[in-house]
Symmetry: C2
């Protein structure tokens, strides 16, 4: 395809696809001549005690969703193909990987960056599509692509939500109906903070407090932070640039993440990127 001058899109996934992945594939199909979807549950981005063994899989359903949404190539590597005997080189992200999820999942973004670099080099796409729901992941990958001069444009696609606001995630399958209702309070908190921001509330402390007040369904909130959308560093004062309110929380034993972007209107923003 490359030899024919075709524009290649790439959607790397861990499978158990949902409409969030569907949106990535559709956008790739709309912008590229061919769309490669990879499904690889990457052991190197799971820590001890995380859900590698139980991570949900349903290849037949995944294949159907890929076909329906416009994928042209499905890439299903084996673990031994990605990490052969003797494998030892890693891509080490910088301080973007040390905050938020990185504080609680040591090595996670090293695993992500390494496998994404490998997949980019194998597939050699022109564009690669990632969901905004994994906001820190998109920041790490964008930075990696720039820092290592990977000849790939990284495209971030807005989070897809259920009608009631729940962010789509393969891990939602872990939730029973009661847990799902409780998980819903996470997006409710984020979306309420965004609404308050859109109506003029610019104080990080107040925005975070508002969100936290509503997140009553979480058994524990691992972090809830309003950070600069470029650097991921906590905002020190009123929101004067693109920021993102990020949460990671447990509902039962299920760890969920979500985020909303808070972008100052052009009239207000001094330095929005």
């Amino acid at each position: 395809m490359r030899d024919e001058g075709k524009r290649i899109g790439f959607v790397p996934t861990m499978g158990f696809l949902h409409e969030g992945h569907g949106a990535l594939i559709r956008q790739s199909a709309a912008r590229c001549d061919a769309t490669v979807v990879s499904i690889f549950v990457n052991p190197n981005q799971f820590g001890p005690g995380e859900d590698l063994a139980s991570y949900p899989r349903d290849l037949e359903r995944d294949q159907n969703l890929c076909l329906e949404t416009g994928a042209t190539v499905l890439f299903l590597p084996e673990v031994a193909e990605i990490y052969p005997t003797g494998f030892q080189t890693h891509v080490e992200p910088g301080h973007l990987a040390d905050t938020l999820c990185g504080r609680y999942r040591p090595g996670h973004f090293r695993g992500v960056a390494t496998v994404v670099a490998k997949l980019f080099n194998i597939v050699q796409p022109d564009l690669a599509f990632f969901g905004q729901k994994d906001f820190q992941q998109t920041a790490v990958i964008r930075r990696m692509a720039r820092d290592l001069n990977l000849p790939v444009d990284v495209v971030v696609v807005p989070t897809v939500r259920e009608a009631d606001g729940l962010a789509l995630s393969s891990r939602n399958t872990y939730l029973d109906e009661e847990a799902r209702q409780r998980a819903l309070t996470l997006s409710q908190g984020l979306l309420a903070a965004k609404a308050a921001f859109d109506e003029g509330e610019l104080e990080p402390v107040k925005l975070v407090a508002l969100a936290r007040t509503l997140m009553t369904g979480a058994d524990s909130i691992q972090y809830l932070e309003l950070v600069d959308a470029q650097t991921l560093e906590p905002l020190q004062g009123p929101v004067d640039r693109s920021a993102v309110l990020c949460v990671a929380a447990y509902v039962g034993s299920t760890r969920l993440i979500d985020n909303v972007l808070l972008s100052p209107s052009p009239g207000l923003a001094g330095q929005s990127a």
Copy 2:
């Protein structure tokens, strides 16, 4: 050139080129349609107290050597172009980088692997040529290319030596005539060990001792080790596979490295790679 289907060769260097580089460029020119030579004194592979500031430079002479040997493109990036503000992602080699030079130059091979990955991604060559003199570097880069699926064939070209055996190195320019004579004892030791090996001596302890006895000109020997050519791990018994005798030593304040390959003849080798 790529769009025209041309085969691209790449010779990454730190400049102050000599006939060792010349051999790399000539081999690339013979095998490829176009040969890119980069000259970049990479600050990230020098440690504190090393010779970054004094590293020799002579761009005009370099350009002439490139022209004479068949280079078609000269790439001379600035430091700020390779490491722009915010740069933070590194390629971290594994245990191949922890031994030999890696023990004495912490971070060196991380700096090498990172800049070579970047240069590979910028130039996107089909083949890249490295000198055997930097044996551990070639092992780290080969491993990196394989581990990160970089679509580049790494070619290692034998060390070029002066008529008297001295391995060519940009750092030889630091040596006055007396120091040069003393430096010569390093290659004399290595080549004597190789001669003994070729005549049947297979005991690592004896080969190392023979080499060391002759290296009388060194002010200090940082390491002198006979290691497996693939793993860089010290040989435990008689040489039964491809091995390399590596030395790093100081002559005055100049640190020099050199090595010789000891390859069992096919009739003897059980597992030569």
